[in-house]
């Protein structure tokens, strides 16, 4: 794949306009109101600004941009994963200590809502609910027998969710409504992540790529040690303000769809 050619294409006015065929596939969202349960999702696509967001060099990471439908299905896969994980955890007698039940009930409630929202938004284009194996298949994790394992996976899923949504902001940039909804979910995952991390004795934010998850999940934190933001190297500038640790904590990093899918695949049973 010639990255430079793709970047050239992205800045080509004609090709930007031809992406409107992708927008055409969003017409289905106009009918989402017909799903009775979620009649009020205001997908006002006709009113969405047709202003195309400026292509920039950093779209290299989004050089292959998923369609909005693909993005929503990507999100739905993760939300199904989280929804099932938390429901199973809450249903497992003796797993979650009483003192922690309110927290996980709240998180679970949110994931239920996110699934419902995305399913309604996608309508006929929604993927089928995957089958999950939270032992990590070959990893044979004792997820629902060992609360510490459950907590570790919870943290992993939430931190992954944050990075996954963040990685798709560019792909949704041309749809104000979808972008906003994604942002509104993204920050909830960050609230979840912060809480679960702190319950595990970690900070609510990610320091470099440090983590105490099993090695198999190191990809969840890969890249979090980045200190260059907006082309500016911030390392060395904030010695009196927490140094490199704080610089890495102050910004969360995106993950590509590919990396996230590879993480999720550990838990998805393919027929």
């Amino acid at each position: 794949m010639n990255l430079l050619k793709i970047l050239d294409n992205l800045s080509n006015e004609e090709l930007l306009n031809s992406k409107s065929s992708r927008r055409g596939s969003l017409d289905q969202f106009k009918n989402v109101g017909k799903n009775i349960a979620l009649a009020s999702i205001p997908f006002g696509l006709a009113a969405t600004s047709s202003k195309a967001k400026a292509a920039t060099s950093s779209m290299a990471s989004a050089a292959f941009q998923a369609s909005p439908t693909d993005v929503l299905n990507f999100a739905l896969t993760l939300e199904y994963l989280e929804r099932n994980f938390y429901r199973m955890g809450l249903d497992t007698t003796g797993l979650i200590p009483d003192a922690d039940k309110d927290v996980f009930a709240q998180i679970s409630k949110h994931e239920d809502a996110h699934v419902a929202f995305l399913v309604a938004a996608l309508g006929d284009n929604a993927i089928a609910e995957p089958t999950f194996d939270f032992t990590g298949k070959g990893l044979m994790l004792d997820t629902f027998e060992n609360y510490q394992t459950f907590l570790a996976l919870s943290q992993g899923f939430e931190d992954t969710g944050v990075r996954a949504y963040k990685g798709q902001a560019g792909a949704l940039a041309n749809d104000n409504d979808l972008l906003t909804y994604a942002l509104q979910i993204h920050s909830i995952e960050a609230r979840h992540a912060s809480q679960v991390r702190r319950m595990r004795g970690e900070k609510g934010w990610i320091t470099r790529n440090n983590n105490t998850l099993p090695d198999a999940f190191s990809a969840i934190y890969g890249g979090e040690q980045n200190t260059v933001q907006g082309g500016v190297e911030l390392a060395g500038l904030f010695g009196d303000f927490g140094g490199v640790d704080a610089v890495t904590e102050a910004f969360d990093e995106p993950l590509t769809m590919e990396t996230v899918n590879a993480i999720a695949t550990n838990f998805i049973v393919t027929e």
């Binding site: 309110d102 809502a113 309604a120 942002l183 934010w205 009196d240 303000f241 904590e249 102050a250 995106p254």
Partner: protein, 254 residues
């Protein structure tokens, strides 16, 4: 000593362990500040920094397009950084034993200073100096920095507001580089908000509580707010924390 690439206002350095600088800050504290220039007292003489204060009588406008949004974010980060500076100079925080609560607030201070300085730098690159929001002047007399309740309650409001502000600004940003930056910051603000809420009411649902969240499409109260800049600015204005007047008459609205 090599001059740092980013010039940080000396008032922030007063947090450092140098006890003489803390005394200097306490001397400044409580003074009615007429203009933002007082914040520069004690700063190293910075010849390359042009005076960015508008002439007396002129009110700074945040501007239009992406610069307007960057200035908007910069204003909010200035507010948060200034708040946490006060926290770390207050007897509640200073009286805390070393531990998680103390570290959380210090981390928040560090992060907001970093955010603020990042936006200042980004704006300096994005536009001319006269279009970069000047250092704002703050008035935190409404906060009791000797009181845990007052500090944490205020922090919670500021962090929750920050999340809503960034979420509401996302669609208004044109350049996807800036959108990604905003995305990288908003999740950190949400982590902050979660931690503060949990400090106030540990083990409860407040880390992502119904009272601060909204429903989307009837699916459930499971989403952070996305609030328009005008509404955020009105809400922040009502706190009285920002003394320096500025306007936001030209921000993008879609």
């Amino acid at each position: 000593m090599k001059k740092p690439l980013i010039k940080v206002q000396t008032s922030e350095n007063l947090h450092s362990n140098k006890s003489n600088s803390r005394r200097h800050f306490l001397k400044m504290g409580g003074l009615a500040v007429a203009g933002s220039s007082l914040l520069l007292v004690g700063c190293s003489n910075d010849d390359d920094d042009p005076m960015t204060n508008p002439p007396a009588g002129d009110v700074f406008d945040l501007g239009s397009g992406d610069v307007g949004i960057l200035n908007y974010a910069y204003a909010l980060e200035q507010l948060e950084a200034a708040f946490y500076t006060n926290v770390l100079n207050g007897s509640y925080w200073m009286g805390l034993s070393a531990g998680k609560e103390k570290t959380i607030l210090e981390d928040l201070y560090n992060h907001e200073v970093i955010h603020r300085e990042f936006f200042k730098t980004a704006l300096g690159a994005a536009t001319s100096a006269d279009k970069v929001l000047p250092g704002l002047e703050f008035d935190f007399t409404g906060v009791d920095f000797t009181s845990r309740n007052s500090v944490l309650a205020t922090a919670k409001v500021l962090e929750d507001t920050g999340v809503a502000a960034y979420n509401g600004a996302g669609k208004l940003i044109s350049n996807t580089d800036y959108l990604l930056i905003a995305g990288k910051i908003v999740s950190v603000e949400a982590r902050h908000a979660s931690a503060i809420a949990d400090l106030i009411n540990p083990g409860s649902t407040d880390f992502a509580g119904d009272s601060v969240l909204v429903d989307l499409g009837g699916s459930g109260v499971a989403y952070d707010k996305a609030t328009a800049p005008s509404d955020i600015i009105t809400a922040v204005g009502a706190t009285g924390f920002i003394k320096t007047k500025f306007t936001a008459n030209n921000l993008p609205t879609s």
